[in-house]
Symmetry: C2
Amino acid sequence: MKIVETFAEARFARRGLVGFVPTLGFVHEGHLSLIKRAAAENETVLVSLFVNPLQFGPGEDFDTYPRQLERDADLIAGAGADVLFAPALAEMYPEPALTEVSVPTLAEHLDGIERPEHFRGVATVVTKFLAGLQPDRAYFGRKDGQQLSIISRLVFDLSIPVRIIGCPTVREPDGLALSSRNVYLSPDQRQQALALSKGLMAAADLVDAGERDSRALIECVRVAGTNVDFSYVRLVDRRTVQPVGRLSQNAFLAVAARVGPARLIDNIHVDFDTGSPEVDRGIRLTEPSVLYQDR
Amino acid sequence: MKIVETFAEARFARRGLVGFVPTLGFVHEGHLSLIKRAAAENETVLVSLFVNPLQFGPGEDFDTYPRQLERDADLIAGAGADVLFAPALAEMYPEPALTEVSVPTLAEHLDGIERPEHFRGVATVVTKFLAGLQPDRAYFGRKDGQQLSIISRLVFDLSIPVRIIGCPTVREPDGLALSSRNVYLSPDQRQQALALSKGLMAAADLVDAGERDSRALIECVRVAGTNVDFSYVRLVDRRTVQPVGRLSQNAFLAVAARVGPARLIDNIHVDFDTGSPEVDRGIRLTEPSVLYQDR
């Protein structure tokens, strides 16, 4: 795997169809699953590693976000990446970023309420990566459901010639959705955090059993997490991120909660592409995540 | 010249280095000079013709903006374009444009004060053209000075691999800067509008004579246009669009005024690239513009 630090080098290293996986680093099996999928579908797999200050709000964990380039490079290479683009701050923002890309009507819900700058920062940096690297396909995790909706929309609106591919959430053996921020949790908090995925899996069972009413699905998640400080539990349309009353289109049931020092999010996607709803519960690891190997 | 209506066709028609010239149509020698320059510097010249609703404010002339595809196609082909991209509204915006691109700190001055949505609409559609068409160079008139600053900045900020080239303003034999909107002027208003370029040329003479104080330059323009309803007369830095006190960097002296039914803008650029200032007064036609030929 080649490691490059500039957009020009990254573009120059491309051969044939290019699959792109953006990351903030401190990667886990969720990122690695995106890279593996990209490797199966493209001739060049380009992974970016950059902790983007624009998408962290004041008081968030930009300064303390785990940065371990060597560890990350080994894992990313092992998953099949050809090029790792690890720009310094000065390559990404040689001057203050004055340009803003936003999708306000999709960003003003769910996580956008507590993190008003977050999605503008994500949309701006993703547009920059897609414009500057010109991949043919780009892979994002479904765990960041609202982010995936926003990126899909901005690519459509801005006619960026790239296909956005959303991939299943990867979970710990006990169901917890992988997140680099899970390492912030104490064992007790780790246990408490399980309520999110437990509630979502129970709701998935309800959907499989025929339940279509959003209130019933939301109630099911809330009951599983009576001890959890939820920011929201919502069933939303995948294209508009607007609340759905009855489940009859592509949607995701999304939760956010503060557990100790971490703000955790999780969701299940319900796909109506085949006519009848199929619930994507994600993929379970059989062993604990690599996140815990070096600690 | 090939005329195409979709982004995919326009991308497919490219060969070698691609120069791009975006237009709203009803073209004049200003646009044609951009196309000729693009033809001299690139293997494929791609011109877009699209009256972009996003950059017109409420009460502006979107509905009445002159649309004459056949006339425009003849002139654009004659200037050396290889591909004319003339998308229908449904190709550009198959669904409402929810994504916004903006450069707020550069857009909040000058024309952005009277036209708050304008530059967001311009930045959004230009990003879409650059992302969707992937040209190597894109040509813009210096007459739209603030627009050129904003586009240069967004391309820099978003790492879009295109070179933005600003080209001299083209003027009528009497000095009036070409604008498709000049056809809105009555003979009397046409005469009154001359005060803008007269004032700017007088200011250019002052700069050539060594004047560097912005107040003196601005006053010179205002004196030439005592009968004119100026929106602003300002000397601004080209990168920041912030007012300049003493002329010592790349800048432009910009004016806007309402003359009858039209809002007119004009400017002179002062280039410091060679050390000593050079004033770009634009290029004068020897005969009246093609704008008047078919009327």
